[in-house]
Amino acid sequence: MLLSLAQSALPIGISGIEKRFGAVSILSDLSLDVAAGEFLTLLGPSGSGKTTLLMILAGFVRANAGSIKVGGEEIITMPPHKRNIGMVFQNYALFPHMNVFHNIAFPLKQRRVSTAETAERVERALDLVQLKGLGERRVDQLSGGQRQRVALARAIVFEPRIVLMDEPLSALDKSLREHMQIELRNLHRRLGMTTVYVTHDQREAITMSDRVAVMNAGRIEQIDQPEILYARPKTKFVAGFIGESSFIPVECRNGGVWHEGNKLRMKDPMPSSGRHLMVVRPEKLRLIAGEQTGEINALPATVGDVIYQGDSFVCYATLKDGRQVILRDYCRSDVLARLPAPGEPITLGIDAQDVVLVADQ
């Protein structure tokens, strides 16, 4: 076995974390459980508190209140160098005065690992991140992607209980970033370390994570598996932040949900009262011709712009109440044959099982 993190992976229990800077509250009563070996992503816009939470986990920022338990052991007041938590920094934070080997050997040196074992473990870590033979390179001789890998090797070489990653891919260009997402995911599968990953990129979060915690204004809006998060957002913020969404106001009355005088067909339990919005994803809409059949809701609309994007097309349509919705479909020949023209009246259909309502805040 290479690095055997699977046995040492531990769960994290975060509860009641409060953090204020002066009068400004950054995190308020935040609780979160991460299972042993889980890949959990904190997703949110800048200023949502996700990086602050990571800094509190690593021990660089002191919370005002709360508890962090790793495998049942309270670490909230433990100094960072005793926490045994690996971290990959946004700008990698490699030591510029050391070569690749010494960067990766640094945590082993602190743990008084013998020279022979250090050499062996650094070699294995380099192999793991596909940098075999680059140990003697200076840090400034590496490309962005290579630095990223060195930072990763350094964070896992000492077999930490937990690995934290603070937007580690944000400095890479798009194709390398997508490649590294897969690589990180596979590495996690192989090593099985409990991982807390911070990003503001929703696609990255969905691609990589076992679960995603969407953060907004210092609170967790929703925490779920990526599929559930996307298909069943619980708040308007989550629906708007993850994927594209149009929001259509609906009325709840007489034990039904109504839009423009039509009762919506839906599978989810209906909300009892209050103002609600229907979340409409572009790919869940379809063009329907003639009579609607079965479990489909029909929305009459007028075509605005139709934009051809090669693999797919996007159609901006305006509903009767003036609200704009977006429809996207792939350019199969049958779809292309009846592509709507601007100004044309159409009927959009959405399946009953795709109807998701969120409270209108």
Binding site: P80, A93, Q110
Partner: protein, 307 residues
């Protein structure tokens, strides 16, 4: 067939590409223009640096009777007082530089760790002495340190000492006065280089299991070395040629190189000997700079290129 290869065939030779002569002429015109812009600066450098140094060197080759000779340089090996001055100069420079490092490093470290506004205020206190004349500051130290000065009076009033401490008009006085004047020259470059050290590097050090002290030793200190090296070089070189403070604080007992030059030229009117002293100081300084560069330069540039 492409147009490029057609024109090549037509010209019948490989350099027949379009407009090569005009482009080359344009490049020449541009360099001439840039050189013309540079020439006032070059002239100034020539007039105030190259010419005087050449003249100095020329003067040093003549003895008192105006004969061409190497007597001025031979004196360095023959006269014990010259050697003693030389040794004193280096001793003062070493001790002052050491004292500056001792006081300056913690000061710069503190400044670099303070919040921005507090650091700004403290920096003003570091820079403030720069705006006061060296002469004034040296006399102030005399007032403080002399036999019946502030320090001795207070210490004797408090009963700490029975006899006044010899703090002025000796080696200690020179070192105290010069350290005060040289400190900013060490602190400023050191502070600047400490500010460029990435906070995340220090966090990474601790995250990877190094205690705060170990992180300082293994990460912060090595990364601050380039700044320390430039500060040390500046202070050491300035010390070698320093005049006012040793002249006033040394009480005639600490003769440094620059004082020797002053004596030789104004007291004995021996311009050849004075010029030779200047040439030797310049040569030694350049040699030292070269040595520093060789010792620390490679390592320092390795770190700088990363930034």
């Amino acid at each position: 067939m492409s147009t490029a290869s057609v024109s090549l065939d037509h010209a019948g030779r490989p350099n027949g590409a379009l407009n090569t002569d005009a482009l080359r002429a344009d490049a020449r015109r541009e360099s001439r223009g840039l050189f013309a812009l540079l020439s006032p600066g070059l002239l100034l450098v020539f007039a105030v640096i190259i010419v005087p140094i050449g003249w100095l060197f020329w003067l040093s080759l003549f003895d008192e009777s105006g004969q061409l000779s190497a007597a001025n340089y031979a004196r360095f090996f023959e006269q014990a007082s010259y050697i003693k001055t030389f040794v004193t100069t280096f001793k003062v420079a070493f001790v002052v530089t050491g004292a500056c490092v001792l006081f300056g490093y913690p000061l710069a470290y503190m400044l670099s760790q303070l919040p921005r506004r507090a650091a700004g205020v403290c920096l003003i206190f570091v820079i403030l002495p720069f705006w006061t004349s060296v002469l004034v500051r040296t006399y102030a130290w005399l007032v403080i340190l002399q036999r019946k000065g502030l320090v001795n009076t207070w210490l004797m009033d408090l009963g700490v000492i029975g006899q006044p401490l010899p703090l002025a008009n000796n080696f200690a006085g020179v070192v105290i006065g010069m350290t005060h004047i040289m400190l900013p020259f060490l602190v400023l470059p050191l502070y600047a280089s400490m500010k460029t050290i990435d906070v995340d590097c220090l966090r990474a050090g601790m995250n990877l299991g190094a205690s705060p002290a170990a992180t300082f030793r293994q990460v912060f200190f090595p990364l601050s070395l380039p700044g320390l090296a430039s500060g040390v070089v500046i202070v050491f070189v300035l010390c070698l040629g320093f005049f006012v403070t040793p002249a006033l604080m040394g009480g005639g007992k600490v003769i440094m190189w620059a004082m020797r030059m002053e004596q030789t030229t104004s007291l004995y009117s021996n311009w050849g000997a004075g010029a030779a002293l200047g040439v030797v100081l310049l040569a030694v300084t350049l040699a030292l700079l070269g040595l520093f560069h060789w010792l620390l330069g490679t390592r320092a540039t390795g770190v700088w290129s990363e930034r």
